[in-house]
Structure formats: C-alpha cells, structure tokens
Symmetry: C2
Subunit: 205 residues, 2 copies
C-alpha cells in the first residue's frame, strides 16, 4: 500500500512531466523555438518522442509550458527581502540581485527567445512581461511609495522612478548581450550600473 498512493503530492506523472520540461528548456534555450527539434528534446529529456507527445499536444504547447515554468522561477523571494532594510542599503542590495538575475545566461536567452517569438505568440510576450519585468517594477514601485508616504523619500512619480531605476540597471550592456556583442558583465560594469541607478534616485552628482 506504500505511503498514501492517492494523497501523495508528487506522482510519476509529475516527475516525467518535469523531466520533459527540463530537457525542453535546455534545448529551447540553446537553439530557440524553430531551431529546436522534437527529437533532440526527447533525447535531452531522456524520454521517447511519443512520450513527449503524450504529455504535450504540440511543440507550441510544450514551448508555452517551458516559458511558463521559466517565468515562475525568475524572481525568488530573496529579491523582495532585499527591500526590508533602510533605503540606500536596500536599494543597493535590490540592485545587485537584479543585475545578477538580468544578466544570467538563461535570462538573456529567455529574453532573446520571447522577443523573437512574441510576434507569433503574442500571449507569450504578455506572460513574460507580466511575470518578469512588470513584477520587478511593481515590487520596487511599492517600496518607493511606502517611503514616499513616510516622507523618507519625496518622489513625484514613484512608479516612473522605479522604471527608470531598473532601466539604468539594464543599460546598454543588456542590449549588447542580447545582440551577442558582449559575452559577460564584469563586476566593474555591474557596480557602475548600480551606482548610476542609485544616484539617479538620491540625486547625488
């Protein structure tokens, strides 16, 4: 009777599904949507192609599943915890974490793919924006608004300031990485971006 076969949270189904999504994630991130072949995905997942199709009706469905999964993992709880300190320190911590996320290899590839495929799958672009960039903006904006009402900050438009802050963190380095012009972000560049963004809010110059 094993241990509660019915009530068990993780079924064989979930395990297989996870390994398929995992393999597909690797292949999609490496070759993009068109470039990924279902045979390769099946091999990467250590699974037969038929099994892939038993879990996902089509390549599009599988792709959507992978993107959804990736979007859920982008932002962890650490990020929000960064904002619990005092303003200047909180912002620097938040910024450091954001830069690490933004410039991670997988994140760059995800941007590339979603931008590429958002014409064909408009829902995908919206899903990604909402669960990635928009979530970060909202988190920071809420923080700034909180400090605004406590008078520890005095910003005309906190939401806009939040966007500007994050925009300065991305900077052109992000575009250069999306274009393959630049391979990595040096610690020096990261610090410079962070300084620029923080100074933008505190007005130091």
């Amino acid at each position: 009777m094993a241990s509660g076969a019915v009530a068990s949270a993780v079924t064989r189904f979930d395990v297989k599904r996870a390994s398929i999504v995992g393999g597909a994630k690797d292949v999609f991130l490496r070759h993009g949507f068109e470039g990924a072949s279902m045979d390769e995905i099946a091999a990467a997942a250590g699974v037969s192609k038929m099994t892939v199709y038993r879990y996902f009706r089509s390549k599009e469905q599988l792709f959507a599943g992978v993107i959804r999964d990736l979007c859920e993992r982008i932002i962890d709880e650490d990020l929000e915890r960064m904002l619990e300190r005092r303003p200047e320190e909180a912002l620097r911590g938040f910024a450091r974490k954001m830069v690490a996320i933004l410039f991670a290899r997988d994140t760059i590839e995800l941007h590339r793919i979603v931008i590429a495929e958002s014409r064909r799958f408009p829902a995908l672009g919206r899903l990604f924006y909402k669960s990635g960039p928009e979530a970060c903006i909202a988190m920071l904006a809420a923080y700034l608004e909180r400090h605004n009402s406590r008078r520890s900050l005095n910003l005309r438009n906190p939401r806009r300031t939040a966007e500007e802050f994050l925009e300065l963190l991305r900077g052109y380095a992000h575009l250069r990485m999306l274009l393959g012009v630049q391979k990595t972000l040096s610690a020096r560049e990261a610090e410079a971006s962070i300084d620029g963004a923080v100074q933008h809010i505190f007005g130091a110059r």
Copy 2:
C-alpha cells in the same frame, strides 16, 4: 550614345538589386528570417526567384544585405544637426528625434529580428549594434565631451552619461513594444521619457 553609359552611376544592375532588397526588406520585417520564404520575397520584389539567386548566393546573404541596407538608413543627418544648438534645447531636440527613430515600427521589427538571429549570425548583431545604437551613443558622447571641456557641463564620465541618457529614452516602453505588450508610444509617454532623460543630465528634481 545616351548620357555616358559607362560613367553612369545607376546601372540596371543597381536598380534590380535595389528592388530585390526592397522586397526582401518588407517580407523579412513582416515574417522574420525563418518565416520569410524566398518565393514570397521574389513575388514582393516583382522578380523571378532565379533572379534573386543571381544577385544573392543564398537566403543568408540576402538577409545580411537587407540588414546592412536598413542599418545605413536608421540614422540620418538631421540627428547630428540637432546637437548644434545650446545644451538644453539641443538635448531635447536630439531626444525627440531619437524617440521617433527608436519607436518606429520598422526599427522595432529590426530589433526583434536581429536579436532573434544574432545567435546564428553573430556578425549581424555586431553590425547592427555598431551602426545603430553605438553610433548614437558616440554622437551624444562627443557632444557631451565638447561641453565638458568648455565647462558648460561638468560630467565625470560623459560616455556613461550618454548611455544613461539614451537608456532612459528607451525605457521599458521599448521592451514592451519588442514583446508586443504595447503597440504604440503616446505623445504623453514620449514627453515623459524625454523629461526624465534631460533631468537626469541637468540634475533637476
């Protein structure tokens, strides 16, 4: 003997080539690289498919030709002329022109496609970055440095400030358009971006 058949600048060859590139540009911008079929391109150019292949060895070559052509047209001389006025006015004019360029439908599509294909064609990413974004940054940086040495501005790192200025102009609206989340940029949003960027340099707050 007509008008100097030999010395004539525009040959039949050039005309045909231009119409092929023109047709290809439309199709590539509408459907992306993979999505564009050579038959459709030939039809759009009003030309036989064989003729396309007589001018370009392969789809890749044709694509590269189109991107090169588009890159050359992105930045016109007007942009540089904007910087001939006095600082605040010059920057506003430059910014307005930049926003118009950045958010034009074709520019957005170009970004999308180049970002998508830069993994497969790394040279393309570099070509685009150099002749588009980098050219704009360099132009603005030179302007800021000029004013720095005249003491009409006092910036620690003009090059970085130029990047930040342009980055603030793009803002998240640009990403939203790349993702298809947002269709157009309202005049109100454009003005807000411009204000934000100009204030970032002049420190007003």
